[in-house]
Amino acid sequence: MSVKELEKTATLEHATDGHHHGDGILGEQFETMEQQNTSYLIGMWAFIVQEVLFFGAIFAAYAIYRFKYVMEFTLAHHELSVPIGTLNTFVLLFSSYTMARAVRAAMQNRHKRQAFYLFLTFIFAGVFMVNKYFEYSAKFEHHLFPGGDYDAHSVVHHAQEKGELRVVEENGREFYELGKTRDGQFTAFTKVTPEEFEQRTRLFFGFYFVMTGLHGLHVLIGMIIIGVLIGRAWIDHLKNKPIADFMPVEMTGLYWHLVDIVWIFLFPLLYLIGR
């Protein structure tokens, strides 16, 4: 039997048994469609576990360095825009919702509705990436990208304005005192050389770019897969297919929610704490 014929048989079988298992071809290693779908999901979960540990290790490294250089990191935090971060969180949470609705529509074999919700998810992901683009360009402009022309000047400048950093001179050498101004009284918590300050804030932006960059890459990959799924759902709609395999959408959904969860942790840890 050709693949096409097999597909047709599978569709007919499942269309008649009253269960919407999708029209995926049943692999010979599986007893039932149900078992096959479960295996797909478990495989996807194994991948997600790997992703969780992958991001988790970077979070752990970030946590340790933030603990070690808490004052420097706190001042560097202030360079990130909370409104943009909040907007991006909102957009991503909403995209998770539209993704869940797309999966639901796929299970009901409502192809047009599925394409619509996938399209919304795609748009939200796009808005997220556009925001990221503006955010990144601003960092590059202020020389906060930890590359060749990194310069902590703007961090120093903002911290001085807020009364959290004071430049002092001792024995002809320049030092930065980091602390807080309360009732016009500056209290220094720590004292560092400008070189140390530059290195440590640079480390913060290193973490910022690696973490948000890897996350952004995941969003981008998700957008490509969602784009393909939109096309598939739209073709199913045009062909008036009674039943389609929902597993690709379901598994992409799991991936997309994972991307959302990573951001749920990135947002407070990079943008909010230390305010």
Binding site: L41, V52, I64, I264
Partner: protein
């Protein structure tokens, strides 16, 4: 079994309710971030607690783990179990920060 192998379609209200909770928690975490005079460590604990809360409802409701079989629970659980082992030691730093103030820390 795992997933919704019975192809159970959940009511839309499950997803809308989850979305409203997520939005409410987003507002809460931003507002909490701006409360003045909160010690640094407490701010981190509050932010992480809300983040874990948000992640949990995404996993349970959007990722359907709540309705899944034991195998999916095992896989999802194993990942987070190992993550907790790894992070517990890192975040112990956060918790112990007030116990070991660095030189010059005011009373």
């Amino acid at each position: 079994m795992a997933g919704h192998s019975d192809s159970h379609v959940h009511p839309v209200s499950l997803y809308t309710r989850t979305l409203w909770w997520l939005m409410a928690l987003l507002v809460l975490t931003v507002v909490a971030g701006y409360i003045p005079n909160v010690p640094n460590w407490l701010g981190v604990v509050i932010a992480l607690t809300i983040a874990v809360w948000k992640a949990t409802i995404v996993i349970m409701n959007f990722m359907h783990v709540r309705f899944s079989g034991k195998l999916a629970w095992l896989f999802a659980g194993a990942g987070f179990f190992w993550l907790i082992i790894m992070l517990a030691f890192a975040f112990a730093d956060y918790v112990s920060r007030p116990w070991e103030p660095f030189h010059g820390w005011p009373e």
